[in-house]
Every structure is written in structure tokens, then in C-alpha cells.
């Protein structure tokens, strides 16, 4: 019998290689897979490209990964936050490369990778610095920019419940980038608060079908902390 349940965070991340592209879910603290990021720090892979909406808060999660010097490049929409001082410092010191992408283009580029789309035309960004050098085209009287897919070697996703086939549900706004990132990576590792028996998740309400998930690892339930805002 197939089981994608991983015995530990350590086991679930053992094969992340130096130079890998890692998609990391979350928007603010919601859906941020902090336990998996801590596991990645312990695992030791370096020279990573991290794709995420934000670039870390305070000194935990992504910020800790950045602080540990493991990240070569960040692809994200909103690195600057009230408590993003680790990223800010590395960026100003030229120690981390930044590719800034409008949030919807980021989500769509990740989905494109997960859906086998080679590129797509979007109006978002046209005429701005963030579309500099990109192919543009007029379609039905409006100007569009060609955007390309963003593939991941790994995706680290925080879900709520999962089963041994890798099916996932999420919790409230912690869903955000999880479903599209799970589609776009060669290996998707999902942390869940509950592992349930096969068939316990109603097939109508599964958000991420197991085909998109390679490993599921149970973590202790914790309360999502505030992050990214001025306290």
C-alpha cells in the first residue's frame, strides 16, 4: 500500500540539493510552513532560489533561512514588511538577489508551471519597471506582457489535513499559494496538523488532490502568530 506519510521532517527534506528552487507557501504568517523551513535550515542545502510571497519576518522561518546564508535569490512580490529586517539587510548589502513579481503574476506563473503552460499574456505590469525587457503584445486593443512559468524543485506547503495518498485541505486564508505551489514542484512536501484515514476527506472538499503531493509530514498544532505588521 502506497503511503506518502513521511516519518519526519528530516526524512521529508533529505534530498534537497544545493542550488534548488524551493517554492514556499504562505502570506504573512498564514500558511507559512515554518516547521519545514526549520527542517530545511537543519538539512543544510544552500545557494537556494526561494519563491514566496514575502521574504521573511523577524528571525524565524524564511528570515532564519536567509540569515543562515542559504539563499542566493528570492522571487517574491512583497519583501518589505515591518519586520523584514533580515532580508532588507542582505538585499542592501548585495548578498541576495531579488526578482520582484506582482503577486497575481507570481501566482499565475506558478500555476502555469503546474499546468504545463509555456507562457501567458497578462496586462499586469505592462508599462512598468517590472515588465522591462519582457515581450509585449497588443491583444484586442489592450497591451499585454508575456510571462513565463516558475517551476520548483521542491514546494514546502502548510496544509491542515492530509491522508496517505497526499490529499490536502487547508485552513482559512492559510490556503493562499499552497495549492498552486503543490502543482508546480517536482517534489511537494506538505506539513499537516492531522493525518486522517483514507476516505475521511470528502472527495468534494479536497483542495489539493494527492497527485500533486509527494510527501506529507505531521507537525504539532500551533497557533499562527501575527507577522509582517507593525505591532
Amino acid at each position: 500500500m502506497i503511503s506518502k506519510i513521511s516519518p519526519s521532517i528530516e526524512a521529508s527534506l533529505a534530498d534537497v540539493k544545493d542550488g534548488a528552487t524551493v517554492l514556499v507557501g504562505g502570506f504573512g504568517g498564514a500558511g507559512m510552513p515554518n516547521e519545514l523551513i526549520d527542517g530545511l535550515i537543519a538539512q543544510g542545502a544552500s545557494n537556494l532560489t526561494v519563491v514566496a510571497n514575502n521574504a521573511g519576518n523577524a528571525e524565524f522561518g524564511l528570515a532564519a533561512l536567509l540569515k543562515a546564508g542559504r539563499v542566493r535569490k528570492v522571487i517574491c512580490s512583497f519583501p518589505r514588511q515591518a519586520d523584514s529586517y533580515v532580508f532588507d539587510g542582505l538585499y542592501r548589502a548585495g548578498k541576495v538577489e531579488l526578482e520582484l513579481v506582482p503577486q497575481g503574476n507570481l501566482a499565475e506563473r506558478i500555476r502555469a508551471a503546474g499546468a504545463g503552460i509555456g507562457g501567458f499574456f497578462t496586462r499586469v505590469g505592462y508599462g512598468t519597471e517590472l515588465a522591462k525587457g519582457k515581450e509585449v503584445r497588443e491583444i484586442n486593443g489592450q497591451m499585454y506582457v508575456l510571462e513565463s512559468p516558475i517551476h520548483g524543485d521542491f514546494a514546502l506547503v502548510k496544509a491542515e489535513r492530509g491522508d496517505c495518498w497526499g490529499n490536502l485541505t487547508y485552513r482559512m486564508a492559510a490556503r493562499n499559494f499552497g495549492p498552486v505551489m503543490a502543482m508546480a514542484a517536482k517534489t511537494t512536501v506538505a506539513s499537516v496538523h492531522e493525518v486522517v484515514e483514507l476516505g475521511e476527506l470528502d472527495p468534494e472538499v479536497i483542495v489539493t488532490p494527492g497527485i500533486f503531493v509527494q510527501r506529507v509530514v505531521k507537525i504539532a498544532r500551533s497557533t499562527t502568530a501575527a507577522s509582517g505588521i507593525k505591532s
Binding site: F78, P102, Q103, G104, N105, M143
Partner: protein, 212 residues
């Protein structure tokens, strides 16, 4: 003749007044967030949040915050009965394809051709961050800007051409300010109303770009 600029709350109330019942609306982070507090409880408006919420409700009571349920500004919110959750690609599909009726955004500058600048000061030492600003700017059926008319240094934020890096081309249709309301037309800015006690002529003369 004297006039008083609108306070931030008054400006939010002024914007709220123009949002029609049944509208799907995204309120950008910062000043636009205040609009939610001024929507009449008898006028049903659907608030969308870029991080995957539709039917966003008010802030939760102190002590019952849940940081898995936050808005685009990462502040805790609630979900109304009838609300729904969805992933980021679906959320921005909503935006990009014009399913939202109105996006209300803050701005550094708005140009006479409707160009919006609100994401980057252009200062090379600033950490750039764009979030959903560019998506919202061009996606909604109407993009409204809500801002103080002048910077702290006294520069008018309605301009002939944006000097800040732009967020979207020709995307703004209306600008609500603490001095008055302007439409962006094919022929540039048109003054819709000035605040009480401020004549159209005076207001027009305070602005360094042609106002019709």
C-alpha cells in the same frame, strides 16, 4: 472663505458613500482599508482580499484574533456568512479579469492620463515591494484612488506625468482626495466636487496640472 480638508476618516466616508450596493470591492492596504468602517450596514458590499477571501467582515473582537484569517495588510479579520476561501491564483483571476467592480488604492501620484504610481518611491535605497498593487490597478472594472491631494512637502499628487515609477498605465478612473473628487477623463482631470468652503476656482488654481 475658509475650508477644512477632509480627515482620513471623512475621506473614507466619502469614498464609502459612492460604493453601490452589491459591488465587489477590494480595498488596498493603508488608507483604503478605512473605507470598510464607513460602509453602511444596510448596504451590502462584498469585500475581497487578495490573499484569498471574499465576503470579508470587520476586525474580530480583541482576544479572538486568528492569524490564519487575515487581510492583505496581514491584520486579523473575520469572514461573513456567505464568505469563501480560495487560492491565490483564483484570487488574482478574480482581479485580473474584471470580476471586481472597484479597487480602491492609495497613491503617490496620479497622472492626467490615468497613470498610477503607488508602489515604489524610486529611491534606489528603498526595498521595492509591489504585492498585489499592479494586479489591482489594471484588473478591476474601476480603479479609484484615495489620497491626500498634497504631499507633506506641499507637492500636488495630481500630475501631468508621474515622476515615480508607475504601477499601471491609464488605469485610474476617479481620485478621492481630502480637497475634492476628480474624474480622470480622456481630456485629463475633471473636478467633480470640492470640499465645503473651497471654491472650484481656488481648488483648480492650487493644482499644477490642468483641471477641467
Amino acid at each position: 472663505m475658509s475650508y477644512a480638508k477632509l480627515s482620513r476618516e471623512q475621506l473614507a466616508a466619502r469614498v464609502a458613500q459612492d460604493i453601490p450596493e452589491g459591488a465587489y470591492v477590494n480595498l488596498g492596504i493603508g488608507l483604503p482599508t478605512l473605507v470598510a468602517n464607513h460602509l453602511s450596514p444596510t448596504k451590502e458590499v462584498f469585500l475581497q482580499s487578495e490573499n484569498g477571501l471574499l465576503g470579508m467582515g470587520p476586525a474580530p473582537a480583541k482576544g479572538s484574533e486568528d492569524f490564519d484569517l487575515i487581510n492583505a495588510g496581514k491584520q486579523p479579520v473575520t469572514l461573513l456568512p456567505g464568505g469563501s476561501y480560495f487560492h491565490s491564483a483564483d484570487s488574482f483571476a478574480m482581479m485580473r479579469a474584471g470580476h471586481l467592480d472597484i479597487a480602491v488604492l492609495g497613491a503617490f501620484q496620479v497622472a492626467a492620463n490615468g497613470d498610477l504610481a503607488n508602489w515604489h518611491t524610486g529611491n534606489p535605497d528603498d526595498i521595492p515591494a509591489v504585492g498585489g498593487a499592479m494586479d489591482l490597478a489594471v484588473g478591476a472594472k474601476q480603479t479609484w484612488v484615495m489620497m491626500e491631494l498634497f504631499t507633506k512637502e506641499g507637492a500636488c499628487k495630481l500630475v501631468e506625468q508621474c515622476s515615480y515609477p508607475i504601477t499601471g498605465v491609464g488605469c485610474v478612473s476617479r481620485v478621492y482626495t481630502d480637497h475634492g473628487v476628480f474624474d480622470v477623463t480622456r481630456d485629463g482631470f475633471q473636478l467633480i466636487e470640492a470640499v465645503d468652503g473651497l471654491s472650484r476656482e481656488t481648488l483648480t488654481s492650487m493644482i499644477g496640472v490642468l483641471i477641467r
